[in-house]
Symmetry: C2
Subunit: 493 residues, 2 copies
C-alpha cells in the first residue's frame, strides 16, 4: 500500500485524535449521556489490538468493558439479551462490548445450532432492545471489523507460529476461515437488518491496522459529537406538562365478580391438593429446565403476599426466588427502568416471583407523574417486547391482578392499624394512594388492555375472599405450568 | 415419639414464634444490623422444607437467599470465598445462605478432590472471613441440619418413589448415605473448628420436622435478640476520638533512590522487548489458568496510569480489566469495606489491575479519619488474610508503590494545570492531599511494614523518571508472572 503514512505521522494523528476523543467523551459524561460501543469482528481481524488502542487512550475511570465468550456456561442459562441488559451503561457511563449478542447468534448459526430462518427473530429482538435504550438517550455505536481472507490466514499463521499463542488458533477458526465468504455474507445481512440511525453499524477493514485505528478513532469521535450536539438541542426543548391523560377504554376491573368466595373447609382441602400439584410441577419444570416468571400485582392489602406464600409453601427454596419491588435505588434510576427487572429474571428451571413489577412504570409512575407521558405510553410496547423475548426463550409468564374494592381495602387497612404485629405494613403512602383510586383504576385498565398478550395474558383475580384468591392464583399457575410442560414434551418429540 | 405435640398446638406455637421473629428481625433492620444465616445440612435433612418455613414467615422485602450448587461452573473459577463475599448482607439486610462455602469444601473432600489434611486451611480462611464480618457488626448464625441414617434412607425412598422427584436422589446421595458415619464425623469436626462466639454453629436434628421447625425458630430468634441487645449496649459507648496515631518504624520511602533514570533510547528498546514478553506471558497465564492481581498505589501524579498503559498495550483486552478505585458509593458503604474489591477479583487466567485499592483503608481513610483508629489498625490483618486466601487459590499478587518527592509532584501538578487537555486530572482534593504529605508518609510506611508479606510483597518504585518507573514495574511484573508459571509447571509434574 503506497499510501501508507510513516510511523511518526501516524503517531501524531493518533495523539491528536486521542485528545479529541478524551475531550468529547468527558463532555458526554458531564451531560450524563450513557454510551455503549459494540465491537464485533471476524476472527483475526485485530479486535483485541484495536480495542486496546481505543481504551488505553481513555481514563480508566471513564469506561467499562464486557467481553462475551460463546462458551460461557451462564450465557445459555438465560435469555439472549439478559447478559447484555446487565451491562448497559448507566447515566454518564461508557460501556464497551467486546463482542455481544450478535456474535452469540452468528456463532450459533455458524455451528449449525440455529437455522438461518430463525435469525431474523433474534435480530428483531435486538432491534427492539436497542431502540428502547436509544429512546432512553443512550448513544449506541456498533463496529464490525473485517479483514481479507488472505490477511486472516496470515494472522492465524502468526499466532500458530508462536508456542505461547498457538492455542488461540483452533480448528473452529480454520473451519470458519474456509467458510469465509458465506460467513461474511451472513454478517453483512445481519448488519443490514440491524442498522438503524439510533444504532448504526460501521464496518472497518483492518488489513492495515494503523489506518483502521485512525478510522476507528474518527468513527467513535463522530458518534460522540453527533450525540452530544443532539442532546444539547434536546435539552433546550421544554418538556410538555405531565397532565393526566384519561383512559376511556374497556373497564376490565368492573367485570371482576367481587362476590366470589370459598368455604373454610373446601379451601383447606383444595389448598393441600393444589400445593401437592405445585410441588410436583416445580420438580418437572426444574428437570425440563423451563423458567417461570410470575407477576403479582394488585391493590395494597389485596393479599398478594398471602397468595405468594401459599404457592411457595411446598416448593424447594433452591428453585424459586421472590423479588419484592419497591422504589428504585439511585443506581437503578441511573439505568433504563427495565434494567433492574432484567437482572432478576430466572435462569432455566427456576421460578421468579415478582411482588409488584415493571408494570409500576404504567401504574405508580404514571399516576404520580414520576415519568413523562411519552415515557409511560411507550412503556406498553417496551414491556410487551421484553416479555416476548422471554417467551421466545421458553419462559412461562404468568401475570395476576388482585382486585378488591375500596371498602374492602379500608377494612383491611383499619384491621392492620389495630394489630400491633401488622401495623408496620401500613404507611402514610398507602393512605395517600387511596385518594388516587380512580386514577389508578384507569391506569390498571389501560395496562390490561395494552399488555394482555396471547402468550402473557393478565389474569384478574377476585380477592374479596382471600382464600378464594389463593386458590384461583394456584389454579391459574398450575394450568400455565402444565401447558408449558406439555409444549416442551411435544417440542422434544 | 410420645412427646409429639398435636398439629393444632404446633400451629399455635409456630404462629407465636413467627410473630416474635418478625418483630425482632424488623428491630435489627431498623438498627441497621447486617445479618447472615447459613443453613447447611446433610442430604435428606429437610433443608428445603425448614428454610421455607422460616422465610415464608418473613416479609419478602426483609431478606434474600443465595443457594450454593456444587456443580456451578463459576464457583470453581474463583477463590472459595468469592461467591460468599458478594452475598454478604448490607446494613440492615438479612441474607440466607442455602448451603455455603462449608458445603463446597466438604463436598470436595467427600468426592476425593480434597485431602483431609488440607481442610484445616479452608476452615481457617472461613474463620478469618467471618471474624472480619462480625467485627463489622454482622450477626452470623450457622445451622447444621442432621437426620438419623434410617430417616435419611426413608426420605430418599420417598423422593425416589415419586416419578417427579426421582431425579433428585442420585447415586452420589446413596453413596453418601453409605458413608453416613464418616461424613457426619467430618461435619462435626468442621463445626468444632469453625464454631466461635461471633459465628456459632447450632446442630438441629430433623427426624421430627415439626420439632425441628420450632427449634429453628427459637434459635434464630435467640440469635437476633442477643445481637440486638449487644448492639444497643455498644451504641451507648462513645467512640474514642480519631486522633492521629503516629508511626515511628522503618522509613521505607526514604530508602528509595529517587535519582534513578533511563535514557530515551534505552527506554524505547527495553519497552518494546518487555511488552513482547508480557504478551507471551499473558497468553501462558491464560492457558495455565493462573489469575493475577496487580495493585498500583502511589502519590498523585506519580505516573500510575502511564505504567498501567505500558503494561497492557500489547495484551488482549479479553484477558485483563482495569479497576479504578474512587470514593465508595452509598451501596459500597453499606457493606464491609473489602466487599467492593472482592467483587472485582479475577477469575482463573485473567489479570485484574487495581488503580488504587483496598489499601485506601489504611491510607486516605486513616489520614482523613474516615474510619476509626480501631478499624484501620485491624485492616492490616484483614488485608493480609484476604491476600493469603487469593494466594492459596493460586493468584499472583503484585503490589507497587510509586514514589516521588513533593517537589516533583508540584512540578507535575503545575504542568497539568497549564495543559488544557490534562487540567481535568487535577482536583482541589489533590492540592489538599499535598498538605497532609507527612501524615501520608507515615501511613504508607506503616502499610508497607504491616502488609509486605512473603507471598505478596510491596515493590517500591522510584518514579521521578516516568520511563524508569514503567520499565521497573514491567520488570517486576514479568518476574512475578514467570515465577508463578514455573511453580504451576512444577506442581503439575
Amino acid at each position: 500500500m503506497e499510501t501508507r503514512l510513516d510511523k511518526g505521522e501516524i503517531r501524531k494523528i493518533r495523539k491528536k485524535l486521542a485528545q479529541r476523543l478524551g475531550v468529547i467523551q468527558r463532555e458526554a459524561k458531564d451531560l450524563g449521556i450513557p454510551a455503549m460501543i459494540v465491537i464485533e469482528g471476524i476472527d483475526g481481524s485485530g479486535k483485541g489490538t484495536l480495542l486496546n488502542r481505543l481504551i488505553l487512550e481513555l481514563d480508566a475511570r471513564a469506561y467499562d468493558i464486557f467481553s462475551t465468550h460463546a462458551g460461557d456456561h451462564l450465557l445459555h442459562e438465560y435469555p439472549l439479551l439478559w447478559t447484555v441488559s446487565q451491562h448497559t451503561p448507566a447515566t454518564g457511563k461508557l460501556q464497551f462490548f467486546d463482542r455481544s449478542a450478535y456474535y452469540l447468534v452468528l456463532d450459533a448459526w455458524a455451528e449449525g445450532k440455529l437455522k438461518e430462518k430463525d435469525l431474523t427473530a433474534y435480530w428483531e429482538d435486538i432491534n427492539h432492545f436497542e431502540r428502547q435504550l436509544a429512546d432512553n438517550e443512550t448513544l449506541i455505536l456498533k463496529i464490525f471489523l473485517t479483514t481479507s481472507k488472505n490477511e486472516q490466514a496470515k494472522r492465524f499463521q502468526k499466532f500458530a507460529g508462536n508456542p505461547n499463542t498457538a492455542w488461540r488458533v483452533t480448528d473452529k477458526d480454520w473451519r470458519r476461515h474456509r467458510q469465509y465468504s458465506a460467513h461474511l455474507a451472513q454478517v453483512r445481512k445481519m448488519m443490514s437488518q440491524t442498522h438503524h440511525s439510533f444504532a448504526p453499524w460501521k464496518e472497518i477493514v483492518t488489513d492495515d491496522l494503523d489506518a483502521a485505528t485512525i478510522e476507528l478513532y474518527e468513527t467513535v469521535i463522530a458518534a460522540f459529537e453527533e450525540k452530544v450536539n443532539a442532546f444539547k438541542v434536546a435539552q433546550t426543548v421544554p418538556e410538555p406538562p405531565r397532565t393526566w391523560v384519561p383512559y376511556r377504554g374497556v373497564d376490565h376491573l368492573a367485570n371482576v365478580d367481587l362476590s366470589k368466595s370459598i368455604s373454610r373447609g373446601r379451601y383447606k382441602k383444595r389448598l393441600k391438593q393444589k400445593q401437592a400439584e405445585v410441588y410436583d410441577l416445580a420438580h418437572q419444570l426444574h428437570a425440563l429446565k423451563i423458567p417461570v416468571v410470575m407477576v403479582y400485582c394488585g391493590w395494597d392489602a389485596a393479599g398478594k403476599g398471602g397468595c405468594i406464600k401459599r404457592l411457595l409453601q411446598g416448593v424447594d427454596p433452591r428453585s424459586f426466588s421472590v423479588v419484592p419491588i419497591g422504589a428504585p435505588t439511585a443506581e437503578e434510576l441511573s439505568h433504563h427502568y427495565l434494567w433492574r427487572f432484567w437482572k432478576e429474571l430466572p435462569r432455566r428451571g427456576k421460578i421468579t416471583i415478582f411482588d409488584r413489577s415493571w408494570y409500576g412504570r404504567v401504574l405508580v409512575e404514571r399516576v404520580e407523574a414520576l415519568c413523562s407521558n411519552l415515557e409511560w405510553k411507550r412503556a406498553y410496547q417496551e414491556i410487551n417486547e421484553m416479555e416476548a423475548h422471554l417467551i421466545r426463550f421458553g419462559t412461562v409468564v404468568i401475570k395476576f391482578w388482585l382486585q378488591i374494592d375500596p371498602e374492602t381495602q379500608l377494612e383491611r387497612f383499619e384491621a392492620r392499624q389495630a394489630d400491633p404485629n401488622k401495623r408496620w405494613k401500613i404507611t402514610a403512602e398507602d393512605w395517600r394512594n387511596r385518594e388516587k383510586h380512580e386514577l389508578y383504576e384507569q391506569a390498571v385498565n389501560e395496562m390490561i388492555t395494552e399488555t394482555s398478550t396471547a402468550h402473557a395474558p393478565w389474569t384478574l383475580i377476585s380477592a374479596t375472599c382471600k382464600q378464594y384468591a389463593r386458590i384461583q392464583t394456584l389454579d391459574t399457575a398450575i394450568a400455565a405450568m402444565k401447558a408449558a410442560i406439555k409444549r416442551k414434551h411435544l417440542a422434544e418429540l
